[in-house]
Amino acid sequence: MPVLIPRNVDELVEVFQANPQAKLLAGGTDYMVEVNLHGRKPETMISLRRVKELTEWSVRTNQSRITIGAGVPYADMEHGEIARLVPALAQAARTVGSPQIRAAGTLGGNLGTCSPAGDSLPVLAALGATIHVIGPDGNRDIEFADFMVGVKKNSLQPAEFVHSVSLPLVEGWQGYAKVGTRNAMVISTASACLVRDSDEGFVAIALGSVGPTIIRAHAAESWLMKSTSLRAGSQLAPSIAQEFGRRVAQESRPIDDHRSTADYRRHAIGVLAQRLLTRSFS
């Protein structure tokens, strides 16, 4: 099986265009499981490891945005500058697998797999991330909401790849919480990211593992913005937090499976929403 090893983005575009059936391999923490456990047999692989641009990240202060390369591993998001700028992403990164998985697994891989349980995805959804994609026809930007279209389905076209993800730097509070039956290294049974922009008085909450895609609880968000002030210095009534949780739960669409039940997921997502909101005021 040929493995193609492009050294920069231009080469990557070229080899991918020449081999549109080829499989991209970043950290391999999802794809090698497919190969080893589920008998997936790729005909050609493209290794992304040597494409240095994909592993870079940068901040454009004038636009208050951070751009994180698709090849940046979780280990680099857990601590340091990225963690300081996007704490919810750091919290989500810390929940992924074990140290070994976090050293190898990448943002691009999480987006490539696009599982409803992907831990970075609710953060991208809540922050309204833009996914920079490069393909045979050049570059395009896809809003996260349009990127994930189903269970393990994204809107990438053949020979397109994720170059980087751009996130706004939000003034205010953000946090991620994830429920699993174990205290570490567990696939989420329900997760949520809440972002509260205390300048704009704006809130966003995105839910993982409680539907076929990441769900933005838009109705609950607008109810909350109408019902209470989210600006810095304001107070939150416990009854508001509770009602917010109830409304968020209503917007989830969970299923029963061997990991948990729909009832529990719906309940848990409501608790997470209530707690995250409360936390954003403390």
Partner: protein, 759 residues
Amino acid sequence: MSSTVVSTGTRPGTLGTSASRPDGVAKVQGGFAFSSDMWADNMLWGATLRSPHPYARIVSIDVSGAYAIDGVATVITADDVPGKLTYGLIVQDQPVFAAIGDTVRYSGEPIAAVAADHPETCQRALAAIKVVYEVLTPVTDPEDCVSGIAEQIHPDGNIFRHQRIISGDTTIVGAIQVEGTYEIGMQDQAFLGLESALAVPDSGGNGLEMYVATQWLHEDRKQIADCLNIPEENIRLVLGGVGGAFGAREDISLQVHTALLAMKSGRPVRISYGREESFYGHVHRHPAKIWMKHHADSNGKIVKIESRMVFDGGAYCSTSPAVLVNGITHTQGPYKCDNAVVDGWAVRTNNPPCGAMRGFGVVQACFAHESQMEKLAAATGLSPVEIRLLNAMETGDRMITGQIMDSVAPVAQCIRETDAIPMPPPMSSSADLRTIPGGTGLTAQPSNIRRGVGWGVSIKNLMYSEGFDDYSTARCRISDGVVTIKFATSEVGQGFTMLAQQIARTVLGVDDVFLDTIDTQVGSAGSTSASRQTWMSGGAVQAACRAALEKLFDHIAAKNSMNRSELEIEGTDIVDRLTGLRVAVHAAIEGVDIDCTEEYHHPATEDMDENGQGNCHVAYAFVAHRAVVDVDPELGLVKVVQIATAQDVGRVLNPLSAMGQLEGGIAQGLGLAVMEEIIVKDGKVRNPSFTDYLLPTFLDVPTVEMVFIEEHEPKSPLGAKGIGEPPCISVTPAIANAIRQAVGRDLPRVPIRPYDICL
């Protein structure tokens, strides 16, 4: 039987010290050869075709497609089994392969095996075998087997064993009564070193040599020889490096398949399971449903216990009858009780076969009786400690089987010492959120958490029961200055190889002890299970070393004109107590040739009668656990903060190793309490991987505070009791009781799932 203990020295490497393991460094550095690392020239790879259906008739099997693939050396089915078509530890009811016309009885049952030049070729060959099934409706509810309404799915019937215990006055009624129905889920042993075997056929075609990761070499050999129809002497079994066992390697898994492929192809063959296949390849802990009713007088003294236990044995017998007897004979737990009515069934269903796992039936019984003790405490107004002390069993008590407790039984001491261990500090309001329930998921603040404390105390039988003579053998050779010990005891990670060296160093006064290959070239050691090898094989090694020492004394007394009857070992010297004359052992054994093989047998036990009466167990060990658990009642998430434990160990032979057994057992019992379960629906395993079969991580295991109760057991050759199983038994109900206390719910089932707590 000798009960004296060779004095505990502080000489490095002797008994009582934390001697290091001969295999330790290699294991830590990754150099240890596990059975899955073995290799032979010209080796083929083997793989197994398994049924996807829990219950189906095999209409036809067409293997021609597999033979058409380049690189496939041989394909075998039931037609290729030259000897016995079935195997099994107690009853031989499990087919080597399911045959045409017969049925498969569990999802994952073997149908054929292939040997080929590459694992990938094997996978293609398996895919090319065509099996036509007539799919049948599986029997999955054990109660349907007890009531008899289920279809009979095997000629032997659907009941593996039905046994009752009737003890004392069954008409007594207690002033206080508490009852409950409890359920225990199916736990997996989840050893890390997967099943693997390498079979190398003799050039003459009459026999073979096999390297296999197993718990009992001689029993494996017997079953392989029967199926292959060749004499046992023609098979040499060598222990392949074993990465954990916990009961899952008692039964045959790939042994016969590997041997058959090697015999038929005339080439070495290795089969190694992956994790998913491992879930299908070995037996699991029996799921059980247990009803219990305790009668107590108004002070809380237990006067009678009634119980009904149903163990789901799955498709084949394995050790189900023995597991059931362990369950019912431990109904009373470590408490005094004269009167009892217990009824137990182990039944056959189309669920995965169940058999041995650490705790062997007692785990299930203990979860029920310790849940009951908490209810009894509440009903009498006593504390969990008081109710248990009030009823604590003592040496000399008559048990519900009529057997007199003749082991050291420091139950009250275990409880008191555990109670004396300081409680952990309360949760700080600024605790690292990763260390509270929810862990790295950051789901809670300290203010969301409630703390509970729960107790569990248990009794566990040691060694095999019901008349079984599970003896062990060891050989000690002193040859030209070198001491070598040989045994067939499976080292599965428990540290017996280290212990054997400690014993030899202590008895013989030498520092260097060589260990011969662990294989069938010496008598049986019995199984590495039932907490028995320290007692049994430890007893055999001690006996062999002592016999060798006697001969050495004969020789040295004659040679140096010492007083034969006055000789003893002092450190590394042989000393004449009368004259004070001493000779260094290392000098004394130069040029000497001594070879002693000894067997150790435990006192005989007997079968139980139809009322469950009889001296069926050899000896017992006890342990107490106190669990401190933080719970998030709203999300149902749990963090076990601290386990305090005092265990009756007889005598600590290696402190570090003993600590390891206790900590490991506690982690395994914690797993059963809150996360480990094989989920079976309609006869199919839904989570055959470590993605969804969750084992505790470092953030899940608690701080363990332990006390060893060292009251030497006179019946034990080294004064020590088996310590492997007790740690995992009562920790499960202790954690469940703590969660119950924190949230005020019944929680009659383990593992306790988040939704059991909060919905």
